[in-house]
Symmetry: C2
Subunit: 226 residues, 2 copies
């Protein structure tokens, strides 16, 4: 029926009670594309879970395949290693944060940080299927350096068994952002303090080759482009 | 008694059951100086707490004064805002992570990250004393840009009341570090894959002055030095 085409459904994660913040709700976003972009820019997340009634937050590597996150489970914590073996999995909160700039206002009160973060609530399950685990590990490596998984020796059976990977579906997800400049009070604008934004510089220094590198191996293009 | 001087007691956080990792315990450290150095290099932490039985992890600003951390409590989360009003405070886990380099091994399995992280377990209390809160906010601002607190308009009474700050003592604390190069298996050394470490570049781009900056205000030295 031309002229009466339906709009595609908005690609968002439906907000829930715990993904709507009580403060600055205007900074919250549920757009899937935005969430994916924030997730794909990083590779270290902070994973929270409950152990003996108390919270635990550990940094660990993650990768994304579609609407699924994979998390390196060998973080030194028993509960995480046991995540999926337990039924019905381990309740987790996975958070990824990029700091983009320092917002220096004239007033101490209005100092802030420009950032983009994603918070995922859900349940982590141990990945047991060897093929899924292999793909997850490729995703983890490629999240750190795109293109790297194909340029390394794949894990063998023993290594695969020794690596714990947990899976977390993207269902209850929100992004939070602060962008832009200084929000000082009008009466503070004439104060003698410098105000503005200091952007963070992001990138890498020159790669340091392993001293045992076999002769003739050049720096691969995907590293030169980093 | 000369010649029989006692060694000063080791300045460490006594390890506890939950600060000793089950994996890579050799990467764990409890040295107070090291912990302070890792904490003082950052200003964004990931704070975990339990809400309705489930974990929540939020990024927020922190500062350190001696053996005490202060955390900006206006994170948009009710439980955190209510932290100290509740008796006996809110159990939290505060984690700070610095990524220093990408470790690219010849084998996918030995890929890693060079990092330094600190994990603090404890109880967060709302800071109600105005003087303590003022000092805490100065510490928060100075953690982001050393010297900045003295070069901004201090919070007035109303702003101070509108800012939630929670306190967390450094008692149950551990650092975890991975440094150095690639740890490939000897039989992989001849593989044709580049291997080595890619150090992260850290720093800031040129500060962007607020368009409303009063005339004649120069970039302060503490920003030029960043």
């Amino acid at each position: 029926m031309q002229g009466n085409r339906q709009q595609p459904p908005a690609a968002i994660y439906p907000p829930t009670e715990r993904t709507v913040p009580t403060r600055s709700p205007d900074r919250a976003a549920y757009d899937k594309e935005l969430v994916h972009a924030v997730l794909d820019e990083g590779y270290v997340c902070h994973l929270g879970f409950v152990r003996d009634g108390a919270p635990v937050v550990l940094p660990t590597l993650y990768g994304r395949i579609g609407e699924r996150l994979y998390v390196h489970g060998s973080t030194g914590s028993r509960p995480l290693l046991a995540a999926g073996r337990a039924d019905p999995g381990l309740p987790v909160c996975l958070t990824v944060t990029h700091v983009d700039g320092l917002v220096l206002a004239r007033s101490a009160f209005h100092h802030s940080i420009n950032y983009r973060s994603v918070v995922v609530h859900g349940t982590a399950y141990d990945v047991t299927d060897p093929e899924e685990k292999r793909q997850a590990l490729d995703a983890l490596v490629d999240h750190v350096v795109p293109g790297r998984a194909a340029d390394s020796r794949p894990a063998d059976k023993k290594e695969l068994a020794a690596t714990a990977v947990v899976r977390l579906d993207l269902n209850e997800v929100s992004a939070k952002l602060r962008t832009g400049g200084v929000n000082d009070e009008p009466e503070d604008l004439s104060l003698p303090h410098w105000a503005g934004v200091v952007p963070l510089r992001k990138g890498y220094d020159a790669p340091l080759a392993d001293p045992d590198l076999a002769p003739g191996i050049e720096l691969p293009g995907y590293l030169a482009d980093l």
